[in-house]
């Protein structure tokens, strides 16, 4: 017997409890061991810094969020389309999959300066990095997801003379949604990190830039505040995707976080 309400509650409580214990241990350790601020500030002082710097953080949060979102849409959209092509035309998969893996092996930190040269100093190179980072996991997941349709469903669609498009829309796509959301949950956080890394290498705004600036000015508390806000942004992105999964994949029992 499942009691969904209670289980969700317990899961949330467990998750929050774990986080609370972690931060509490951190706080106590810093106080007891008298760790200096420049080595590791206590969570409470990071939080105070977040509040103090809030207008500044918010100003730099915006471009990062835009880049991460743009990269999320571009990278996942591209991966979904390519995965659909892979499933319907195996030669395309044979030809392009090695290339996709090759793309994955390129160190992003190394090509970011090149992207800056090619695409300028604005949003574009950061969006591309965020897209590249989320592209591959989604491609792999969706290639599996689109092929996950069971043989009998495929035969059923054939015997009722469904077109390839109808089979895709009515069966393949919905059947792949659990795979899609697994991939999107990875992408949601990695897009934020991709955008931050790209900003870190070349930008005059965004959380990545703020990390560089804070380090340069030796503003350790602000550096940690920026890290905290970046994490919160990534966490928020993850939670939005997880909520969307609950909404769009209600037939899946374990559609939780």
């Amino acid at each position: 017997m499942r009691i969904p309400g209670a289980r969700v509650w317990l899961r949330w409580l467990g998750g929050l409890g774990g986080l609370a214990a972690f931060f509490l241990a951190w706080e106590i350790a810093v106080a007891v061991l008298q760790v200096p601020l420049y080595v590791l500030p206590a969570p409470s002082s990071i939080w105070r810094q977040v509040l103090r710097d809030w207008p500044l953080l918010l100003r730099h949060l915006q471009p990062t969020a835009i880049e991460a979102f743009g990269g999320f849409v571009l990278g996942n959209g591209g991966a979904i389309i390519l995965a659909a092509a892979f499933v319907h035309w195996p030669p395309v998969q044979r030809a392009l999959f090695p290339l996709a893996i090759g793309l994955r092996t390129i160190p992003l930190v190394a090509i970011t300066p090149l992207l800056l040269v090619w695409l300028g100093y604005g949003y574009a190179p950061k969006i591309v990095i965020a897209a590249l980072i989320s592209f591959f996991p989604t491609l792999v997941n969706m290639t599996r997801g689109f092929a996950a349709m069971d043989q009998q469903s495929l035969e059923l669609m054939h015997t009722i003379s469904a077109s390839t498009w109808q089979t895709f829309v009515k069966v393949r796509w919905p059947a792949s949604l659990p795979y899609l959301f697994s991939a999107l949950k990875i992408a949601a956080t990695s897009c934020v990190l991709g955008a931050v890394v790209a900003e870190w290498i070349g930008s005059d705004r965004g959380l990545g830039y703020l990390v560089v600036a804070a380090t340069f000015e030796f503003a350790i508390a602000r550096l940690w505040a920026t890290i905290a806000v970046t994490s919160l942004l990534a966490l928020l992105a993850f939670l939005v995707v997880a909520a969307a999964e609950r909404f769009f994949v209600p037939w899946r029992d374990d559609a939780g976080i």
């Binding site: 069971d150 009998q152 469903s153 035969e155 059923l156 669609m157 054939h158 015997t159 009722i160 003379s161 469904a162 077109s163 109808q166 009515k170 069966v171 919905p174 059947a175 994949v249 209600p250 037939w251």
Partner: protein, 236 residues
């Protein structure tokens, strides 16, 4: 690998024909050939005088699989509507037809349920309703009741006969169960082991309409033992 050889089989209009045979004799293959799921390596299959592909596109037959193959994200109603949706029928008409088919299999009231909420027998009923929406002249059924318990199977058999009578469709039915074949069929085709060939045909002349009680009559036992004997000989 050769699954079938020199199989010649004709199903008359409105006839109920069952195919039995040892495991791996190509019973399912035969059905899949008729359904255009498989193509014959040689020879030909005609469904209503056409190739299976033409008959399939004309939506002249429906197939019921061993597994109900319902789409888990669709309600019973939406699952049953699927073939009509694919055939681009208007929403109003397809809803009416689906509701009618659901009533025919005795699932009224479960239109809004999802497959996961149904029992195995109910899922197979929904699959049969889905097959009926196209109002086919021929139903191809591949061991549709092999996964349900004996009593449910009896009830489903009885209902299938009622549906068959009401719709007037011919049924080509593959099964492992001799009793099931005897109870349902006008004619039982016994296939030999691989490569499957027609070993014999039995014309079951039990009176219709058949209630479940007929299964316990001497005549039914007689037919069952004849079919069992034929199957044993065919398996040799």
């Amino acid at each position: 690998m050769e699954a079938l050889r020199d199989v010649s089989l004709t199903v008359a209009e409105g006839e109920f024909v069952s195919i039995i045979g040892p495991s791996g004799c190509g019973k399912s293959t035969l059905l899949r050939l008729a359904a255009d799921v498989l193509a014959p390596s040689s020879g030909e299959v005609k469904v209503f005088g056409e190739t299976p592909a033409t008959a399939r596109r004309a939506r002249a037959f429906s197939m019921v699989f061993q597994d109900p193959a319902l789409l888990p994200w669709r309600t019973v109603l939406a699952n049953v509507e699927l073939p009509l949706e694919v055939a681009r029928m208007g929403q109003q008409r397809r809803r009416e037809r689906a509701i009618e088919a659901i009533a025919l299999v005795g699932l009224s009231g479960f239109e809004g349920a999802r497959p996961a909420q149904l029992s195995g027998g109910m899922r197979q009923r929904a699959a049969i309703a889905r097959a009926l929406t196209l109002q086919p002249k021929l139903l191809l059924m591949d061991e549709p009741f092999s996964a349900v318990d004996e009593l449910t199977r009896d009830r489903l058999n009885q209902e299938l006969l009622a549906i068959w009578t009401r719709t007037g469709a011919a049924i080509l039915f593959v099964t492992h169960s001799i009793e099931e074949a005897v109870y349902l069929s006008d004619r039982i085709v016994v296939l030999t082991g691989r490569p499957g060939q027609v070993y014999s045909e039995l014309r079951v002349d039990l009176p219709r309409p058949r209630s479940l009680e007929i299964k316990r009559t001497p005549a039914a036992f007689e037919w069952s033992s004849r079919a069992r004997l034929a199957l044993e000989e065919a398996s040799r």
